[in-house]
Amino acid sequence: MSLDIASVQDQLLASYRDRGCDANVSTMTIAVFFENPAIGELARDRIRMLASKHPSRVMVLDGSAPETVHRVDGCDWIELGVRESGPEMLRAAVASLRLADAPVVLLWAAPGLGNDPRFDSLAQDAQTIVYNSSLLDSGRDALRELVSYVGNHPQLPIADIAYLRLAPWQECVAIFFDGKAVAELRDLEHIEIACGSDPEALYMLGWLASRLAWTPSAADAFVNSTGKRVAFSIDRQGEPRRILRIALSSSQSTFVAEVDREQATIHLSVTGSSEHGARYRAIENPGIPALLERAILWGQDDRLFAAALEAAGKILNEGER
């Protein structure tokens, strides 16, 4: 079954004319693909918020709906059923309906990357690709797939929501080592992360490893640049996609960032030789629209992300041995 793209184009024209859509600011075309209707509803909701801040043409590619579904809502919101559409048909649809000159952002909200030719096809015309390795419970597999795909496509302009979600926690960990405590970075011996899903914990470890030149050496350890062992543990607890606690221990101090009981703030504490009075930071669990925005604005060429992803891939490989 083929998509009736001409009909959608007619609807777009009519929509502009009948609804009196004025010339407006348009910043991009967002194409979102999903197969699970529940995920689709969430994706629509988040993209609506994003598009309210960054006016965009939105193409909802609904892999659960038949091709008979094709309509234009509002001025620039296109719903397309693509259940049976092949890779080239999808690519042609996006090429025909995108805004000329504005970049295309592909949100891939479906399982599988490299083994799905539709992703391969859509990715070719996208200036930014946004993935979420902790969208489903199979987080480790999703992250593994991403590592593998990026390994084969090193120039892929992709961002992972699971990594972007770490930003406030990266900030908390970095705060510990501002000032003289920076010396303790080379003396770290153990990292503990309590988290509701694996990708965020693996990214945190990957980020630390890539910044501090640690090499994964076992399923639960790195070696640092002086050959010293740095052990780590991941404790799965709490809600998926939420970090609860990160503790870093050196021979002299323990640095702990953890969510307080009311889940309103992150409490930072340091005991030992680098002891520091308690500090608090507002919990920032940025919503998906905010993370999407970060991904679009800054995520597609982030060498820190690339390094953290590569290191996370090595941690996963060590775990498989």
């Binding site: 600011v25 960990v173 970095a174 003289k180 970075l185 030149a213 307080d260 930072l268 507002a282």
Partner: protein, 519 residues
Amino acid sequence: MADEAIATATAAGDGATSNPLREGLSADRITSPCSAVFFGASGDLFKRMLLPAVYSMRLNGTLPADFALVGFARTAYDDDGFRTYCKKQLDLFMPPESKPQGALWDDFARRISYITADFNDTRHFVDLKNRLAQNDRDFGTSGNHLFYLSTPPPVFPEIIKHLKKAGLEQDPEGWTRIVVEKPFGTDLESARTLQRAIEAVFPENEIYRIDHYLGKEPVQDIIALRFANTIFEPIWNRNYIQNVQITSAESLGVEERGGYYDHAGALRDMIQNHVINLLALVAMEAPISADADDIRNEKYKVLSAVAVPSHADVWTMSARGQYGPGTIDGRAVKGYRGEDDVAPDSNTETFAAAKVFIENWRWAGVPFYLRSGKRLPRKVSEIAVTFKPIPHRFYGDSTDRIEPNVLVIKIEPDEGISMRFEAKVPGPKEHIRSVYMDFSYGTGFGVQSPPAYERLIGDAIQGDQTLFTRWDAVERAWEIVTPLLEVWQNTKDFAFPNYAAGSQGPEGAKKLFSDWRHL
């Protein structure tokens, strides 16, 4: 590599910048720890603007993790009393979702302290020094001190003198910066006197002269509009531009500021700082980089090319006014002379307008009209760039007027950009009408611009002076308005009040420029 970075940081002991975990983290987070001291902390500006800005920065994570706030003012409080006062003000002035509560407020509150002080007594500044040292120990503020002068301006020199006497002008462990609220002086001489007092204690790179207008998003967008686009700059000159009108109008009167305003007036209160800053941004040449000094160099250069009117020219190059009773939004309002704390025969202008020329290659012959006033029909701040008429008319019905193109940068309200151009009315006739292409921050990006004070306090903590005015520009702005000030001060206007509240301003301003944009 990481080990080298760690070793370097350890040797330097300088912390944040050498922390290898900092690389690549979002730059909007401020890493430099500090104590911020607010002189005049029991005043209106602190409670309405500064305190909410700082607490909002705490909530959105931009404030340094190691931070402390010291209030320093005459009103008597102890630390706990001042914390209670701050909470009460935040309850009043923060939006409902950001009220102070929970562990975050508790943590913020314990970092607040207060010194009841006489600004003329060095002992209280020594107390302040001890308190800052205590903050360094308790909150890791690392000897970094931000002094914010939010007192009435006459007190500034005393504070600065005593900061020096108490040995607070610099800290061997960290940085010291001083934020000076506007107005910077009340005329050229007093500004120079104040500058001498400040520069005797602080070098220019530690002085942050604040004009909160510059923290507004649309003002910053002037630079983006001009220099991040190719279509405007080629026509941004005398060949294509007929005139530039910069307006800062308010529908409000002097409210509770009658005592201050009656000694200031519109020229000092708005034109000398806000409006001339806008003039500099709209007329300057392209800076060679976004570096603070590169931008400020260009601002100064263009202001130095502004022709200062002679005393004799003042009456033909400017207009002043004072509002009388009138109607605003259907409500009768009293005249300026009937406001609280205003002299019944006041000669203070509540409306000021001036025509200036910039004597350089780009702008020769292009008039810049500057206008500011109170009790005008509506609140509007904007820069309107009117382009020259078409050189030859051959199209359109002869009864149609072909208007010049106008680009309007709207600063408040309805922040955005509007372009007027001519278009053919659909139909068989060749009728021409003006149409408007509008960009609004509100609908374009769906966000409210962040409050100016948050941006500016953050920049001061980070040591970024881009949005603060350098002394040479302040001095030049005073030089530009000085002839007007002198002539106006020495000439009583017996026609005052000469415009009704809610009207378009005095007739004299219309004579100055017949094509003022309607307010």
